[in-house]
Point group: C2
Chain length 252, copies 2
């Protein structure tokens, strides 16, 4: 049974996972991080030991590699053969195959260190190299989240891709909208209820059903008027491309 | 003082504005709509008279033209000289200049007929051809919303443009994400908490500050892996364009 957990990394996912596991009464044995500032802060918060080198790793029931994607394989090559998981959406399970027991814990959420997160509702994708280890991971994760999905690496890749499109890209559209308003000294607050309502409506209907706006109505007059007042070349391209795509999607 | 209001149209905005005004104890004198089915339903709900022709319009303290944008000017040319407003984000105030008193009431929200709407929080942009009439409109609208913005037609155009980008386009991204998942038989529910959290974060920070994801990190390896698994040509274009734009926006 997994009781003692060591976390490698002290960034956003390391912090949020660490806090959730600590609250669920797991012992966070070590925080291993090259960054002594964030590493020490996190270790202190989780009543854990801070070390700044992989060579100082001690045995634990579970090692969580919560570094950036590029370091995962390298880190796993440098640590002893303890049960290990990574937390990346886009990294294959196999990146850890130097270990005997290895797996993945991928929280489908954009986690910021300072956010006050209710992990219970965050979907977590789980994968492991054996049924037995998967069950052990599920036992741990079910203590912090009630939304667990067992997916393989290929499926997780598509979850990650669609998360980027639905979340990162939407946020960029909010940023573009704000910039357009800022330039005209208009208050971004005017848009906030609309943005939140639009997102919330996915709980009620399929997004295809929820689609509204000039492109959905094939209202080319409004589309052309909008294109006329967009200064930024890239924004114009984005406006055109997405509008055309909506028109095609809602075509006959 | 405005007490009796007639609404031209029986679509989404006509319905939602009508319900809100009726609840705020205004008398909805007539519902004028070419569509007898939706028109009668709405008239009944608002204890109002239904007529299907502009020629049957009676005098009222305020006429609200809640038709599609293209019909606004035509409708205003066909009705007598009563105080009149339209509800369009993208239509100039001047479209109504055949009237003596004219204005605009533009709710910045994607209103669906069947939604249970709390109008109090919906920002409403107001414009009028005289200070006096503007004050009369504000008196009415302040009974249904506590978020009133006085903006001219040009400013409202930018609000509408940015609303399309932030809301309609985001929703289309949700639809693309769902389609990608559907094709792999993956559950769109996995993304819902992320989508809602991403939108909600605009209340905490500037969207530029909230930006996360591979493009923000300039993680071209992940970006290229994503591009490889997107089948749809248009989606590939959208992915590239927005990613590049995020990279440029967050560049040095």
């Amino acid at each position: 049974m997994i009781k003692e957990i060591t976390i490698i990394g002290s960034g956003n996912i390391a912090t949020q996972l660490g806090i959730a596991l600590h609250k669920a009464n797991f012992i966070i044995k070590q925080i291993i991080s090259r960054n002594p500032i964030t590493g020490k802060v996190l270790a202190q918060e989780l009543q854990s030991q801070f070390v700044n080198s992989l060579s100082m790793i001690q045995e634990a029931d579970l090692i969580i590699i919560a570094t950036n994607d590029d370091s995962i394989e390298k880190v796993s090559n440098e640590i002893p053969d303890y049960p290990t998981v990574h937390t990346s959406g886009n990294t294959n399970l196999k990146a850890l195959n130097k270990q005997n027991k290895y797996g993945v814990i991928y929280p489908v959420q954009s986690l910021h260190k300072d956010d006050d997160i209710d992990f219970k509702k965050i979907p977590i994708c789980i994968e492991a190299n054996s049924m037995k280890f998967k069950e052990e991971i599920i036992k741990v994760i079910s203590k912090i989240s009630s939304s667990i999905f067992c997916l393989n690496s290929n499926e997780r890749k598509y979850i990650h891709l669609s998360a980027v499109i639905a979340s990162n890209f939407s946020n960029h559209l909010y940023a573009i909208a704000k910039e357009i308003l800022d330039k005209k000294k208009l208050n971004f607050n005017i848009l906030k209820p609309l943005i939140i309502a639009t997102a919330s409506k996915i709980e009620l209907n399929d997004p295809l059903t929820n689609q509204t706006g000039p492109a959905k109505r094939k209202d080319t007059k409004t589309i052309n008027e909008h294109l006329k007042i967009i200064d930024n070349k890239n924004y114009k391209k984005i406006y055109k491309l997405i509008s055309n795509n909506i028109i095609e999607n809602h075509g006959n």
